[in-house]
Amino acid sequence: MPDRMTEQQLADYAEASLPPAGTPILYKDWASGLRESEHPEALSYYRHLKKQGKVKATLTTDDDGKIVHTIERV
């Protein structure tokens, strides 16, 4: 059973799971990784990180018109 973490620890855990700055990752891949980690509840701190300016999001479409949603550590 994973240790119970504080809110700040969970936010830090989510932030630590991000690739280095300059390396975007698909949100769904990052989220999937967190859901399978020891602390899936850390995923809910994505918006906290975004509000703090620690992560930015980019939305575009691919050649087939499908949504491409990536995030990147700032």
Partner: protein, 163 residues
């Protein structure tokens, strides 16, 4: 006057409800024309209704990707309300009808903002989407840019066509 996209969504009874999202009227038409399909791709995964019509003050045929037939569980009264804050500090709200209940946090009236489809839509509202060579960034009806989605909650609404 702000330019807007509209999506008229119908439930399994054929009752319609329209989603309208506003943009700055200086947005290039090529961006708007590419963007309406892209934004449909953001909304469609979260709702169970069928799409009757969509357009920028004219109709656009999206039946290839989002057909007019609603799922049996679709109900225009089942809405999710996204509450947003604009650059000027104004509060703006956007309701999605026939919202899929699977996107609520179990046991609550809160939309799961960490869900992949929901997160994409929320990030679109806050940061826009790059399509057609330009940035399509939502505003409120005053053309005031949206900077933050504060919350998204269940909102049971009224049918427009009372029976």
């Amino acid at each position: 006057m702000a330019v807007s996209f509209y999506y008229t969504i119908v439930d399994s009874d054929g009752d319609p409800s329209t989603v309208e999202i506003f943009f700055n009227d200086s947005t290039a038409f090529a961006v708007l024309n590419a963007g309406i399909t892209a934004v449909a791709g953001l909304i469609n995964p979260m709702v169970t209704g069928g799409l009757r019509t969509a357009g920028i003050r004219f109709e656009v045929d999206l039946s290839g990707s989002w057909g007019p037939v609603a799922q049996l569980i679709a109900d225009v009264q089942e809405k999710a309300e996204f509450s947003m804050r604009t650059v000027g500090g104004f509060l703006s709200r956007l309701n999605l009808p026939t919202f899929d209940e699977s996107f609520f946090v179990p046991g609550t009236a809160q939309v799961d903002l960490s869900d992949d489809d929901v997160a994409a839509f929320v990030d679109f509202l806050e940061d826009g989407i790059t399509v057609g060579g330009g940035l399509l960034a939502p505003t409120d009806y005053r053309e005031d840019g949206i900077i933050l989605v504060e919350k998204a909650t269940e909102n049971w609404g009224k049918r427009r066509n009372a029976r």
